[in-house]
């Protein structure tokens, strides 16, 4: 039977001839990840099941949600996870990047099944793998067994064609899609991105697209691996699956990206998407560049080009958090970090940064933050009466310069 890439990977990982949407399968898991916020509960569940992880090289622990610990409560959770890492001799323990970026840089291969105790684990599907977010107890179960059950999802096909206008990026494309599909439009479904826009997109931009599949309720984001993926993986082996031409999709979306303008998601929900013109001129207090959505080198590059040899507005604080140490080093080597600091940015260690509000960069009542992150829920970054507006790195950088929200096309 004709199948989608998601169905093929789940069939392969569960040793079935095929996996049909609605089937329940038990799949072998390539990697299971938990971070400092979700690992403690995962470890509690794991400890009730067994005392040894299924594979010390396939369980990955990342401290990224609040590292270094800002509170005693956070330090206590870190202590608990560190003890587990040492006791189980976990080889993949990191404190130098956002978990999804580290998985992409070090582990995920095409054809893998990867689960993470973080909803944005859908990001890694950009490498042609089935990757999805789970809760802590599920991850504890995988740490114990190396297996996980899944309901095989129906797939949605997003066929993206054409070229974006100058000043419009993958973030604008995915925000526009989330605005159309809405927060529950892809509930339980695989979100497959294809078309010549995706083929021409960098791996970083593909990661941005897949990252926000969860914001439409999607189970996973996925893009077929191609030569660009293999170049990125630089010899890491994998198994490439492709969707059959006559595979069945629950729905198909034809999107001409040339029509898309710079987008913003207005609070308090991610699907409240509008063209940037709707809020142009709105004064901001904070601008944040980073996260698993947009903390990669090309994002920092776009921002640097806008901010080099200039100063951000006096009313704004600009926070920059590279998504990983490797990106941080690359940005230093290119001089981007130096240029951003000279422009007035505060550069923070590679983590989730202020995105989850458990670390530096929180917002006061009534403050407005424009951010390259993926969520704008009330109270996420500090006071519940603060406003979080989501946008592309270019819109974030240009707005930091202007002190108010602007259309980045006037700045690139």
């Amino acid at each position: 039977m004709a199948s989608t890439i998601t169905e093929k990977i789940l069939a392969y990982a569960s040793h079935q001839k095929e996996a049909i949407p609605g089937d329940f399968v038990v799949a072998d898991v390539s990697y299971a990840m938990a971070h400092d916020s979700t690992a403690p509960l995962a470890i509690e569940s794991f400890s009730k099941i067994t005392d040894k992880v299924f594979d010390k090289d396939r369980v990955i622990i990342v401290f990224d949600h609040f590292f270094p610990a800002p509170t005693v409560a956070g330090a206590t959770l870190h202590q608990k996870s560190r003890k587990f890492v040492m006791e189980q001799n976990i080889s993949g323990f990191f404190t130098n990047g956002v978990c999804h970026q580290l998985l992409v840089e070090n582990y995920v291969s095409p054809g893998d099944v990867v689960v993470g105790a973080d909803s944005h684990t859908c990001t890694e599907g950009a490498l042609g793998a089935f990757t999805t977010g789970l809760g802590s107890t599920d991850i504890g179960g995988v740490m114990a067994t190396g297996k996980c059950w899944f309901r095989v999802p129906e797939s949605l096909k997003f066929n993206l064609t054409g070229k974006t206008k100058n000043g419009v990026y993958a973030k604008d494309v995915i925000l526009s899609i989330v605005g159309d599909v809405r927060a529950d439009g892809a509930l339980y479904k695989a979100c497959e991105f294809t078309g010549d826009y995706v083929k021409n997109a960098t791996v970083a931009s593909r990661l941005t697209l897949c990252n926000m599949a969860i914001e439409m309720g999607g189970k996973n984001g996925i893009i077929e691996a191609d030569q660009k993926t293999l170049d990125f993986l630089d010899g890491r082996p994998g198994k490439i699956f492709k969707s059959d031409k006559d595979a069945i999709y629950a729905d198909e979306f034809e999107i001409e990206v040339e029509d898309i303008e710079p987008q913003v998601a207005l609070p308090p929900v991610v699907d409240n998407v509008e063209p940037v013109s709707v809020v142009e001129g709105k004064t901001i207090d904070q601008a944040f560049l980073g996260t698993c959505t947009n903390g990669r080198l090309e994002d920092i590059e776009v921002a640097t080009k806008i901010l080099k040899n200039k100063k951000i507005a006096r009313n704004v604080r600009l926070l920059v958090t590279p998504a990983s140490e490797a990106i941080y080093f690359a940005a230093l080597e290119k001089g981007y970090i130096q240029d951003l600091v000279a422009a007035g940015a505060a550069v923070c260690n590679p983590t989730c940064g202020p995105c989850v509000g458990r670390h530096g960069g929180v917002l006061a009542e009534g403050e407005v933050c424009i951010s390259s992150q993926n969520r704008n829920f009330s109270g996420r970054m500090g006071d519940p009466k603060a406003e979080i507006i989501l946008a592309s790195p270019a819109t974030v950088a240009a707005s930091a310069l202007a002190g108010k929200i602007v259309d980045p096309r006037d700045y690139v």
Binding site: P40, A73, S136, G379
Partner: protein
């Protein structure tokens, strides 16, 4: 049992804001459920009360703290038109009963609702109606019957399927 009614797309930052979830203490999590969105909730919720919501309840983060907090606050079940998938799995895994019902919208805040957990029958006594409930797939029912994922895996797990 008294109903606490919520709307569509209630996200995990609304249920358990990230700034309050730097803990695994269940009692503490029970105290912070809806702390900013609906401050009267944890003050007045009674053991056994029920949450009724619209579409996509529990969307957002994977944090299991959200269903743990709801359960620890005393909520005996959540009825919604639909649930976000990670929240749905998490709830089943930790033993918080969920019911998917198109009729959720007919129920109002403060209604008296009775759930027969053996038969799965849900009655809104205020409105005098029986709710139609979508049954759980058989696979998930096996995990529920064991009392959650930990017990399911402890008692043979996937080898028993």
């Amino acid at each position: 049992m008294k109903v606490w009614k919520f709307g569509d797309d209630i996200n995990t930052d609304v249920i358990t804001p990230g700034r309050y979830t730097v803990t695994t203490d269940k009692k503490r999590l029970g105290e912070i459920a809806f702390i900013e969105y609906r401050p009267d909730f944890s003050k007045n919720v009674k053991e056994g009360d029920i949450i009724v919501a619209g579409n996509n309840f529990g969307c957002g983060s994977s944090r299991e703290h959200s269903p743990v907090a709801i359960k620890a606050a005393g909520i005996s079940a959540v009825i919604a038109r639909s649930f976000a998938r990670i929240f749905f799995r998490n709830s089943i895994n930790i033993g918080l009963p969920l019911f998917i019902s198109e009729d959720a919208e007919k129920i109002d805040d403060g209604d008296e609702v009775e759930i027969d957990f053996d038969t799965g029958e849900i009655q809104d006594k205020t409105k005098n109606i029986i709710l139609k409930v979508k049954p759980l797939p058989a696979f998930m029912q096996k995990i529920v019957e064991k009392g959650g994922l930990v017990e399911f895996l402890r008692s043979g797990g996937y080898d028993n399927l």
